[in-house]
């Protein structure tokens, strides 16, 4: 991969991580705090609960994502070993599988045989082809799994702190809720807009959808918490 392409790939990977972490970070702590604001008497409890949630959520998403990445690497390595064994032990059957892939795209039998005979000459390339096109597996990047976990976790923390600040700078839960809702809705709108813009989707639709999820989650949490606490 050229240096430019590599850089482009890394940038879009970071954007993807930040989008994943921040979407949940802006939504869940905001909705939890909104829910509690209708059920408890002090901003201190809301802030404590919000910070505990940010801590729990960022670890679950970050560490969970990291370990899922590790599992993916182990899965790839074990499938790779199996594929190398299979092209040795079931040489003809594996060639047949390559032919089937090309038959699906309308190639003649003659071409299928030609392709597979050429491909089978280089075992490494053959296995690489089977991993990608038969099993749909791409080699996972170990360094990427670690960085990704960190990016997602940090984005969750940053996203989660925004709605909580409102409760810090106000005296009672109701004022906190109003300020938090205004700040967070603005942030969700901007975030959803740029999220879609960066991925080539309709920005306004992204803004509206992201904001709607936050508002629905907060409203549901508010009414359920009120119901439970009374």
């Amino acid at each position: 991969m050229s240096e430019h392409k590599e850089k482009h790939f890394q940038q879009s990977a970071i954007v993807k991580d930040v989008v994943i972490g921040m979407a949940d970070g802006l939504t869940v702590p905001f909705a939890l705090a909104a829910g509690l604001s209708g059920a408890v008497a002090s901003n201190g409890i809301i802030i404590t609960a919000g910070i505990a949630e940010i801590c729990a959520g960022s670890i679950a998403m970050g560490l969970g994502g990291y370990l899922a990445g590790r599992t993916e690497i182990e899965h790839y390595d074990s499938e790779l070993k199996r594929e190398y064994r299979e092209v040795k032990e079931f040489y003809e059957k594996e060639k047949e599988e390559v032919r089937e892939i090309f038959a699906e795209y309308g190639l003649s039998e003659q071409s299928q045989h030609l392709i597979v005979d050429e491909m089978a000459k280089d075992e490494d390339k053959w296995v690489k082809f089977m991993m990608r096109y038969e099993l749909g597996l791409e080699k996972p990047n170990a360094k990427r799994a670690r960085n990704s976990a960190l990016n997602i976790g940090v984005a969750y923390v940053v996203g989660g702190i925004i709605p909580l600040t409102a409760y810090y700078f106000t005296d009672v839960p109701f004022s906190g809720l109003i300020a938090s809702a205004i700040i967070t809705v603005v942030c969700l709108f901007i975030f959803g807009y740029f999220k879609n813009k960066l991925t080539g989707q309709d920005p306004l639709q992204g803004a509206l959808r992201t904001t709607a999820i936050g508002i629905i989650a907060a409203a549901a949490a508010f009414f359920i918490a009120r119901l439970v606490s009374h």
Copy 2:
């Protein structure tokens, strides 16, 4: 797809959804409640916060997942239209792109030309090939996006209620924390075990990793909530 294969596919899709929802559902509300148990005086507040979190988290994951699925469908459709346009407008360039894919796997120039000339005869199959192998996109299933959102959301609720029951059946936060930790660690262990067993990974490793994430998230939330509230 045969009926048997279709059924197999649906089953593994549901398992995947339940794993995603329940992993977070067991972890985050458990850790939040554990965090609050070191900072607030009544089980009522812990239960209220826990239920508000379950509500917020399940909506963020479920509805967020549903809308992400919708976005994926729109993305696929727009790329499909573009690919149909490109094979018409940039016929030779698109053929060159197919050749490059096969050059990567060591096929001779002669074979590359043969493949691409045959493939270009059927526009639908050619475009299908480009979507899958050049862009790495598979046709997303609209019904699947809706079902998946529901499965994930419900699994989150079920997972989240388990650690909270302990606070309902005890009188003070400290007893609730002990009971909740025992119940949840057992559930995380069993869940992690079967999660890995079903996906063909090492079950014991799955059990230990899943339990570790829960314990680390709960311990971190506990100490941070204590620090903030004092």
